[in-house]
């Protein structure tokens, strides 16, 4: 997709105002939000798409910025269902099934919920080769924009940081989101000084780290 555009890359953007704290017990603000959570997890468990595809569907919603969190979940869920022809839009409008179901989905049963949640979807994979970079090494984060889902935040692009930790080999979100397979690669924690990211306006003594897959990194000579 050439016109891929994420609306979710918010790190460092100005003008969003202050943060409003919330008491610990407040989980949902409407009944439909509970349903949005449960429907999204239950449909995710069918294997019709993966979590990276789900994130990609959310971040590219054209009205992302004006939607609440669970509205984004519902809109993205509908998009994934329609793209895969599991549901058609006339059915959502009518509120009932109008076309045959697509067979072959693995339906999550109530009794399987605890074990399924406890297992999760680990992304760690056995390494196929050695890591290209070592802890302590300086690296530059890829500067070029990409035209697909990525997990390299805009504020870190082209910036120089140091490798703090190797996190093993993990499913590569960029390819996984595009349906191009897991293509596992080494994952690193890269730490940047506030000054490197934000210049002189950076607060005193603050640093930021991201977790970045090897294809995001370039050596610094």
């Amino acid at each position: 997709m050439i016109d891929y555009r994420s609306h979710a890359d918010l790190g460092g953007k100005d003008g969003h105002g202050r943060v409003i704290p919330e008491p610990e017990g407040e989980l949902f603000h409407a009944r439909w939000e509970r349903q949005a959570l449960a429907l999204t997890i239950a449909m995710g468990a069918t294997g019709a798409w993966n979590l990276d595809m789900s994130r990609s569907a959310r971040e590219t919603l054209p009205d992302y910025r004006s939607l609440s969190y669970y509205e984004r979940w519902i809109r993205a869920l509908e998009r994934l269902l329609i793209e895969r022809e599991l549901v058609r839009s006339d059915e959502i409008a009518a509120g009932r099934m109008l076309h045959p179901a697509r067979p072959g989905l693995s339906v999550l049963r109530a009794a399987e919920v605890p074990a399924t949640l406890a297992k999760g979807s680990p992304t760690w994979r056995p390494p196929a080769g050695p890591a290209r970079f070592a802890a302590g090494q300086p690296v530059r984060l890829r500067a070029a924009a990409v035209t697909h889902h990525t997990r390299l935040p805009g504020y870190a692009r082209g910036k120089i940081g140091h490798i703090e930790a190797l996190r093993g080999v993990h499913v590569f979100a960029d390819t996984h989101a595009q349906g191009l397979g897991e293509q596992p690669c080494w994952l690193y924690t890269i730490v940047f000084s506030g000054r490197e990211l934000w210049g002189d306006e950076a607060a005193r003594s603050h640093s930021v780290s991201i977790d970045a897959w090897e294809p995001y990194l370039e050596p610094v000579s």
Binding site: G12, G15, L27, R31, L39, Y69, L108, G120, S205, S207
Partner: protein, 221 residues
């Protein structure tokens, strides 16, 4: 020139327009309630979801998986140096030994606050959060103000939560850009030497495990 509007200008304007109360303002939309019901009916009729599964999922995140799990992890680390070391070395395994594992906590890393360093966790790209130990993320964690400012002005964000740290304390921000999930181990408050592990757990707030708060004495009933 003229014609096409400058996308940067539009983006800034929509940033300014953004209402941090969005989730609260839009939550009771009756049309969303109807819409989600319609979607649920279609998915049920198609046989993609089991209605009993939805109830179990909601109950799990309302009553079983929440920040009290993480509080038990922190309290154990405070009283048991061997567990603390294990947690810092292999958080996934140490946390699993207390029964918390799985979805959105498959790969855990624990980061410890000290006199000289305070840790703060964010996900600027979406809302990644360690579900097995903290449950569902609060509204502010998912909001544009937090995601935008945490990496650039962490002291300003802490001030929104009423937290002020000495200038000499380094603030380290962890942007959860991959599938590693971070749990902050806050500092054990002075004067709690004689408390039991259970009593200590009641001092550990959700916010203190994200880094936006500090532990505090539980309110007496």
């Amino acid at each position: 020139m003229g014609g096409a509007p400058n996308p940067d200008v539009i983006e800034r304007m929509s940033d300014m327009d953004h209402d941090p109360h969005l989730d609260h303002a839009r939550n009771e939309l009756p049309e969303m309630d109807l819409h989600v019901r319609a979607l649920r009916t279609v998915l049920e009729q198609k046989g993609y979801i089991d209605p009993a599964t939805l109830d179990v999922l909601i109950d799990t995140y309302e009553t079983k998986i929440g920040p009290r799990n993480g509080a038990r992890v922190v309290a154990r680390a405070w009283v048991d140096p061997i567990f603390r070391n294990w947690l810092l070395e292999d958080a996934t395994a140490a946390i699993a030994s207390l029964g918390y594992a799985g979805r959105q906590g498959e790969h855990m890393v624990a980061v410890e606050n000290t006199e000289s360093r305070h840790n703060l966790v964010v996900c600027t790209l979406c809302s990644c959060y360690p579900w097995p130990v903290l449950g569902l993320p609060p509204t502010w964690y998912k909001s544009a103000p937090y995601r935008a400012r945490a990496v650039k002005d962490p002291r300003g964000v802490l001030a929104d939560f009423g937290v002020t740290l000495p200038d000499s304390t380094e603030i380290r921000v962890w942007d959860s850009t991959a599938e590693i999930r971070y749990l902050v181990i806050p500092r054990r408050p002075p004067g709690t030497e004689n408390l039991s592990e259970d009593q200590l757990a009641s001092w550990v707030t959700r916010d203190s495990m994200v880094g936006t708060g500090l532990p505090k004495a539980p309110e007496r009933p």
